[in-house]
């Protein structure tokens, strides 16, 4: 339970700086420190239990199907890291209070910092693989916020992005690795997984797991060749650097390697991959550090180098090496944090970090100089300081491995060279900054920092000394506990003392110090040599690579998506063709066994006519009015076909829709260009399209024929049987429409209504280009109203309305119904618009068509909802027969009400569409016509 609070308190603490934002900087810092401090107290109270080897856990089910639970544990390793995170974190909070200037947003900084701290604590305390990953990603995200804190600076933005990209990519690999581990282990609980080392190591997945896992950890811990992001993360404020690059962020990768040491290490693959990478990083980092003129740059590469060292130790695979690794994690965190803070003080008080300008600061800030030099000496591995101890252990361990066989001696040699380089750059840090003459062109006159800004450095440097001098007392138990957690077995004997006698590691240390000093003294030659090579800026390369990637992808994308509808349509139809045709190849006979209807002359005429008019529609598609006429013939024949094949309702619907469509087409013709080229594409494209079209048509025709000639057993007998008895109508099609499947019809009229609204929207604020002459250049006739047309249309109106009523009323029993009747009424009214014009109609028939649509819909819905009050489902219909003397028997049905809704909606929608288009043009025409 305590472990939960260690995580929860900082998590809640994120709010503290935000709440106290207005209370002043000191208050904000204090408030921020409360939660981590409390967590630290809780952590420290666990010390005896941890040192006794107990593990505190907390578990809460969260997402069982994912294997993700809220699961925390506090063992030695977690304790060590939590201690570093909270302890150094508190020092950084104090330090940042003085480091940040007035114009920096303190709450934002502290909130991000605590967010990061929480994430880091989550990583080390997680006892669930996926939860661990969750916090791992949160460290990437929160570090992004910290690095980009000065977001107005380009280098901060780019550095942050690069860090996020690299660690984010690694994070994804890690997710894959963790999922695989969980899959192989059968559990995602870390402590259970840790007990399954052999299962994992002998699994087929092991190599891929290891590769993915190492990708995750190496990127996070800035191992070669993924180290390039780290120096650019130095664009962050120095408190951030001192936190991220000493105790936390970059240590997360190392932590993870240590954490999974029991299950993934102890194979040759592990040894080769981890130790060699570590060695390479150690050397590359140390060597590069030597040439950095920027203080923080030097420290950054030194960090890389030390991370390489820890990785190397973990890679060696021996238990003592692991102990050394853990020890060095502690030591590095302590001295590197203090060094960054010192560098920050120097920067803060002198205005630069350039070592070429910084000289002789000893005279200006002696205390800071002393502190920094002690820490740097620890970094160099000078005896009596903590760095010395872990380095000696490392040298000792490099001598013990033999996996490389006869070439195994390379490893200690290279390690010594690394040590020498470390001495060299540490010397440079000390000598170049604090001695080496007088400062050059400093923006400010340097002086000691505010008192409390130095306190964190002092604390850390004292720790360096104490650990260096009294190692066993200071960290013996801690190291034991942490190493035990890493190894998951009893820790081997190790001795933490300053003096082990004259031995090879001591000789190696001596050699390193000597060589280091020599290298530093002769640095001019080395600088000259290095000067030949162009310095590569990883940021530029990375940005360039990303831009290259974006450009390439943009090119590919534009090549694929050229914005052409024709291509999209072609691909869609081609795919449809392929998918539709693919099963047909396995069809044995197209023709089925259903008896066919004998054909006759008239049908042949009509089929021929249909085909000819279809072809004409295509042929004339650029002679637009002609195409429309041909299309009308097609529609006419389709209607006749419906009538012929026993579908009178369809014939009626098709006919009336046809006419309205033609009216719409005519409107379109008027506003669209009158001419278009006969060949709108190249001949190749046309032939290609013709080919696809022909194939498509033949496939659809084939399927149609195959279907027509096969018998069908369908659910329709039910409709025929129940239409009269259940729906009260003899026109089964209509009963299906208003009753059996009335819901479809409701949707259908809604579609019609919405279409009308959409069209109304389309016509809003449209500036229509009206041609003043037809396609032959003949100006339009000046006669607005033809007498004969107007009169006859007028006299036909009542007749047409009567017909529509006739068709509406008998629809339930005979061909007809609300939809057709509605269209007839609409057409009759449109005919008035055509004959008399919009103005005339508007004066005499001020109907709000959209209200008509709405009322139609509402009536249809009400007829359905009405059945609720009789305890029935929506659209349950009712009908009955009544008898009136003199009139006889007649039927009343609720379906008629529904049909009335359909009727009104259709009228409203059709007229809204057509009359509004007319209305738009009228005003235009009045202006254009007067000229």
């Amino acid at each position: 339970m305590n472990v939960l609070w260690i995580l929860l308190l900082p998590m809640l603490g994120i709010m503290a700086p935000l709440i106290t934002a207005r209370m002043g900087r000191t208050a904000c810092a204090w408030a921020t420190a409360i939660a981590p401090f409390a967590a630290l107290v809780i952590l420290l109270r666990q010390t005896p239990k941890i040192f006794a080897g107990e593990v505190d856990t907390w578990w809460q089910e969260w997402i069982p199907s994912l294997g993700l639970n809220l699961s925390l544990h506090l063992d030695g390793l977690a304790y060590l890291f939590a201690l570093l995170i909270l302890g150094i974190g508190l020092l950084v909070i104090l330090y940042a209070r003085y480091y940040l200037s007035e114009r920096d947003s303190m709450p934002q900084f502290y909130a991000s910092l605590i967010f990061f701290m929480t994430a880091m604590l989550g990583v080390v305390l997680s006892n669930n693989l996926i939860q661990l990953w969750l916090f791992w990603e949160l460290t990437s995200i929160s570090s992004f916020l910290l690095i980009s804190y000065w977001s107005y600076r380009s280098d901060a933005r780019k550095g942050a992005r690069m860090a996020l990209a690299v660690t984010g990519a690694g994070g994804l690999a890690l997710l894959a690795a963790l999922l695989l581990i969980g899959h192989v282990a059968g559990t995602y609980e870390l402590r259970e997984v840790l007990a399954m080392g052999d299962t994992l190591r002998f699994s087929d997945y092991y190599p891929i797991i290891l590769v993915l896992f190492l990708l995750g950890t190496f990127t996070k811990s800035a191992q070669f060749p993924f180290h390039f992001w780290l120096p650019h993360a130095m664009a962050a404020p120095t408190p951030v650097s001192s936190y991220l690059h000493s105790a936390t962020m970059v240590k997360a990768g190392v932590f993870l390697m240590a954490r999974f040491y029991p299950v993934l290490a102890d194979t040759d693959f592990w040894f080769i991959a981890v130790s060699l990478t570590g060695m390479a990083t150690l050397l590359v980092g140390a060597y590069t550090a030597l040439f950095k003129h920027d203080l923080k740059g030097l420290l950054a590469y030194s960090t890389i180098s030390h991370l390489g060292l820890i990785t190397l130790l973990l890679g060696l695979g021996s238990d003592l090496a692991a102990v050394a690794a853990v020890f060095h994690i502690i030591n590095h965190a302590v001295f590197k944090a203090s060094l960054f803070m010192a560098a920050g003080i120097i920067d803060h008080e002198s205005g630069t970090r350039d070592m070429r300008k910084l000289n002789g600061l000893w005279n200006y800030m002696p205390i800071t100089a002393t502190l920094a030099m002690v820490a740097a000496a620890s970094m160099a591995g000078v005896p009596l300081l903590n760095g010395f101890l872990s380095k000696e252990m490392m040298f000792a361990e490099t001598l013990r491995q033999d996996t490389l066989g006869a070439l195994s001696w390379w490893i200690p040699l290279l390690a010594t060279i690394g040590g020498a380089l470390a001495v060299a750059y540490s010397l440079r840090f000390m000598h170049d900054v604090f001695f080496n003459g007088e400062p050059i062109d400093l923006p400010k006159t340097p002086h000691e920092p505010p008192r409390y800004m130095r306190v964190p450095v002092e604390v850390l440097v004292v720790l360096c000394l104490l650990v260096g001098i009294f190692p066993q007392f200071m960290v013996g138990d801690l190291l034991n506990a942490a190493s035990g957690a890493v190894l998951q077995r009893p820790v081997p004997e190790f001795s933490l003392s300053i003096w082990h006698g004259f031995n090879v590691p001591l000789a190696m240390s001596a050699a390193a110090v000597t060589c280091g000093a020599l290298i530093y003294i002769n640095r001019r030659h080395l600088f000259q040599f290095q000067g030949q090579f162009r310095e590569l800026d990883a940021k530029l390369i990375f940005e360039g690579a990303v831009q290259q990637l974006v450009q390439r992808m943009t090119a590919v994308h534009e090549w694929i998506e050229n914005g052409s509808l024709q291509r999209a349509m072609f691909l869609m139809l081609l795919l449809a063709l392929a998918m539709m045709a693919s099963p047909l190849f396995s069809m044995l006979a197209v023709e089925g066994l259903r008896p066919q209807i004998p054909t006759n002359w008239v049908v042949t005429f009509c089929t021929g006519l249909l085909i000819v008019s279809t072809i004409l529609t295509v042929w004339w598609s650029h002679r637009r009015l002609r195409a429309l006429l041909a299309l009308s013939v097609v529609g006419l024949i389709v209607s006749i076909a419906f009538a012929y094949f026993s579908a009178p309702d369809l014939a009626l619907t098709q006919l009336s829709v046809e006419v309205v469509t033609i009216l719409l087409f005519l409107l379109a013709l008027f506003f669209l260009p009158q001419h278009s080229p006969a060949l709108d594409s190249s001949l190749r494209v046309i032939v290609r399209d013709l080919g696809v079209a022909t194939l498509f048509g033949s496939v659809v025709g084939t399927i149609c024929y195959a279907m027509l000639t096969r018998p069908l057993t369908s659910i329709s007998d039910f409709f025929l049987a129940n239409s009269k008895t259940g729906g009260g109508g003899t026109n089964v099609v209509n009963v299906i429409l208003v009753d059996f499947r009335g819901f479809d019809t409701l949707g259908e009229i809604t579609v019609l209504g919405i279409a009308a609204l959409g069209i109304y929207k389309l016509l809003a604020r449209i500036a229509l280009a009206m041609p003043s002459a037809d396609s032959n250049g003949i100006p339009w006739s000046k006669e607005r109203r033809s007498v004969l047309l107007a009169l006859v249309s007028q006299s036909l109106l009542p007749l047409a309305l009567l017909v529509s009523m006739y068709i509406f009323l008998r629809g339930h029993n005979m061909p007809g119904g609300g939809f057709i009747a509605g269209l007839i009424t609409a057409i009759a009214l449109i005919q008035q618009y055509v004959a008399h014009g919009v103005e005339w109609m508007k004066e005499r028939m001020p109907i709000n068509y959209q209200a008509l649509i709405a009322s139609g819909l509402c009536i249809a819905i009400l007829s359905g909802v009405g059945s609720w009050f009789f305890g029935h489902n929506f659209l349950k219909t009712w009908y009955d027969y009544f008898y009136l003397p003199g009139v006889g028997k007649f039927e009343l049905a609720s379906a008629m009400v529904f049909d009335l809704g359909v009727y009104l909606t259709v009228i409203g929608a059709t007229l809204l569409i057509l009359a509004n288009l007319g209305k738009m043009t009228t005003s235009e025409r009045l202006r254009a016509g007067d000229q």
Binding site: E61, W62, I63, P64, S65, L66, L68, I130, L134, L138, S140, S151, R161, A165, L172, L175, L179, L180, H183, L549, V550, M553, E561, L565, R567, A568, M569, M572, S582, P583, M587, I703, M707, R710, L712, T713, S714, I715, S716, F718, G726, F740, R741, F743, G747, T750, V751, I754, A755, L757, G758, K761, L762, A764, Q850, C858, I861, H872, N873, F874
Partner: protein, 501 residues
Amino acid sequence: MTHLPILPVLVPLVTGALMLIPPFNEVNNRQRALGTLASLIMLAVAALLVITVDRDGTLLYAVGEWQPPFGILLVVDRLSAILLLLTSVLVLAVQLYASGGDDAEGRFFQPLLMFQAMGIQGAFLTGDIFNLFVFFEVLLIASYGLVIHGGGKQKTAANLHYVILNLAGSALFLIGLGILYGTFGTLNMADMARVASSIEGGDLTLAKAGALLLVIVFGLKSAMLPLHFWLPKTYAASPAAVAALFAIMTKVGIYSLWRVHGAIFGEQAGGLANVALPWLWPLAWLTLLMGIIAVLASQTLRSLAANLVIISVGSLLLMVAMPSEQTTSAGLYYLLHSTLATALVFLLAGMIVAQRGKAEDRFVAARAVSQPLLLGSLFFVAALALIGMPPLSGFIGKALMMKAALQQGEAGWIWPPLLLASLAALLVLSRAGSTLFWRVRDGKPGTAQAHPLQLVGVGVLLLALVLMVVGAGWLTDYTAAAAQGLYQGIDTRVLPTGGAS
């Protein structure tokens, strides 16, 4: 309560109709309040349905009380219930956002929104394949109207492509339905699932052709490669609120694939079993790949978000292409997440465009937004969700899908694109965010402020995303049960024994 299943269709329909007649026919606070009320009712209904279905099992509602398969049957199982909930959350968010002023940029926004909701919810509800077509058309025609809201060349051009492609799609849908009715003789999906295994001979061939045609139709809706061309343009051109609502449009296609190709042409379908898979697999994979390419090529926030939709579609299609309870469950969770997250980004993009002057949402240095901290934080959160980074629900969905793929033994094919997609999103979104909010050209920021209602709309989505994380345990159990229910099919006791077919 017995009429609960039909309310998701009726409430928006009635509201939409009311918004055409006085006193609600003007764009004013009265109309907006009505819209909010309707959205809240829909949300309540959907929540109630989810609870009821989770407790009592599938709800069936025979419209007109005609016994299935003859009448139209509404089916509320766990799958449709949760999608209804998703829709209503989205509609509420969009309605609130648009009520902040965007709805006044043209006519009929609120009624069209309601009709669109009706179409989407109807498509999720119906258990009848032709009725599905009808609701597809309802949601499409409403979306045609919504895309052009506010007017402008870009919208018109995008809408033209969108409309024409979808009209062709509708034609293919009808041909497919024709073939299916011509071979199955029934339209009720549960009944079709029952009949499917008995189809053989020439009918089998025809039915396959029909089933495959429907893949095209649903693929077009869901923006499967190479049917995705309409999507980036349309989403990027649409007004923010509409684009946000559209986040669910592709999901309707995915849902239909599950319903039709998972349940009707699934494992039990005899000769028709899994007929779509050989096509779906490569196309889904390529869709994901295309999404990655497109995301990397994105130049504006809205097109980026649109291309992220393609990635999510690709991922989901891969889940569809490996039908199993795990993949479906994982896909369903991811579907909920990706819909909400994309919608969030589109809404944000709307506010950013409004504040950023002529540069709109292009990734170039421009004047600062007037509310950098607010929009920046929101963007940051939304970006995390989209990339699939914790703490928002994206990572859960991604991990679930990866796990499901691993269980199917397909991790080698599916993990790399899934992970690459996240990486691409990470690269581009971090670039996008730092450019939009940090690369500020000198000069005074604008004065445009986000309307409080817009923020409430965004808040609704954020809250939903957070709830998806907090309640992930319950939700994943639910999605697992939903997936199980999908493949079990509807209880055939409601179908007539023997029947006409």
